[in-house]
Symmetry: C2
Subunit: 228 residues, 2 copies
């Protein structure tokens, strides 16, 4: 039951970026993704997407029928997961070893994810001691593309008088991450939900014995794991 990629597929950076986008938008490659969704995400034009998707279909990396969007094939999924794996491993390296903060890693990892070298990524994985999550709490696929999806929920879904631990972010924009830094919220931070306002969705939290009010936008972009 192995997926064999006999002749290693030669991929351009652009092709890799498209696969990665389809992987992310299509829920790890299980769903079909529309041309427009890809175009919006990649900040390009729908016509460019059509062209590229045809090319990827030609290479059997996606299944594509006119007007019906694109869905990754097994091979496409494998390649996409490898790119994500590389991206997230590099993010760990940057934060753990090169003093990057979690809001600075994305652009550089975006470049590093395209470096081709099996040995490089295997050794990096070992050097980092086989991390399972990146600095934003996102899971790192293993060599086969598998990862355990964490049972995380949005902070906004927690009830009042409950406790949870921050396990990830939905929005990983620099602005949001810096906001979290300023408010001492990091991966692993324990958060107690004191109260929720129904009229604006804001919340009163307790973090390290300090009370903090946060907006709906914040609680809708922070993933937590409930603690009993």
């Amino acid at each position: 039951m192995y997926l064999c990629i006999s002749k290693t597929v030669r991929m351009t950076h652009s092709e890799e970026n498209y696969l990665k986008t389809i992987y992310h938008l299509g829920n790890y490659g299980v769903q079909s993704v529309s041309t427009n969704a890809i175009a919006e995400q990649m900040e390009t034009k729908a016509s460019s997407v059509t062209d590229m998707v045809k090319k990827l279909a030609e290479k059997d990396l996606v299944n594509y029928k006119k007007y019906q969007g694109a869905k990754l094939t097994e091979v496409g999924k494998k390649i996409a997961s490898t790119i994500v794996r590389k991206h997230r491993l590099w993010e760990v390296f940057l934060v753990e070893n090169l003093n990057f903060s979690w809001d600075e890693v994305h652009d550089v990892a975006e470049q590093l994810e395209h470096i081709q070298s099996k040995k490089l990524i295997d050794q990096l994985d070992a050097f980092l001691n086989f991390p399972t999550h990146d600095p934003h709490g996102d899971p790192i696929p293993d060599k086969e593309g598998n990862f355990k999806k964490t049972d995380k929920i949005l902070l906004s879904q927690m009830d009042h008088n409950t406790s949870c631990i921050c396990v990830g972010v939905k929005d990983s924009s620099s602005d949001f991450l810096k906001y979290l830094d300023r408010n001492s919220i990091a991966l692993g931070t324990e958060i107690v939900v004191i109260s929720k306002e129904s009229f604006d969705g804001s919340m009163m939290l307790q973090i390290d014995n300090c009370r903090k009010a946060i907006s709906k936008e914040v609680s809708n972009n922070l993933y937590v794991k409930s603690v009993l």
Copy 2:
């Protein structure tokens, strides 16, 4: 007396590779390099080189006059030295931290040298503890592009009954580096020249109390520093 690059020049990988080649062939950018020399080194066609050199001249990265080759400008030299700096720092990282051997690093470093991030390279430099030489003994330019050129000579130029220390290689092909590995010759290895054969240029060496005969090809590609 500083060189200010006000607006950061946006470089493609291809442009960077050309600059690097001109830097190397032109003796760190001091000499003019012919179109054919560039083409041969880069395994491309002379006509392609002409086109690219014109483009680089347009950007003021090289000085170019028809039929007279290309020479790096100060700005071009600075950019080229940065690429070489990145290449060599990555090589150190691969060998020191990711268990690569010195014959495996080149191809990967060739990709990594194009990653754009000032912070990345500064932090990597610090992480590696500011190395001055790469795994092949080549000097790593500092941020300003300066490096001390070591007073190395080819092993073939040593007299018999003299001692020296291996400080670098001229040929850094995988084959040659593996040969050196098999013969326990590495950077820092002490070598005693026992004798030289005038008819074929071969040498008898003593390394770690073992005698080894090497060909002229070998002694012509190994840099050493004489020890008194």
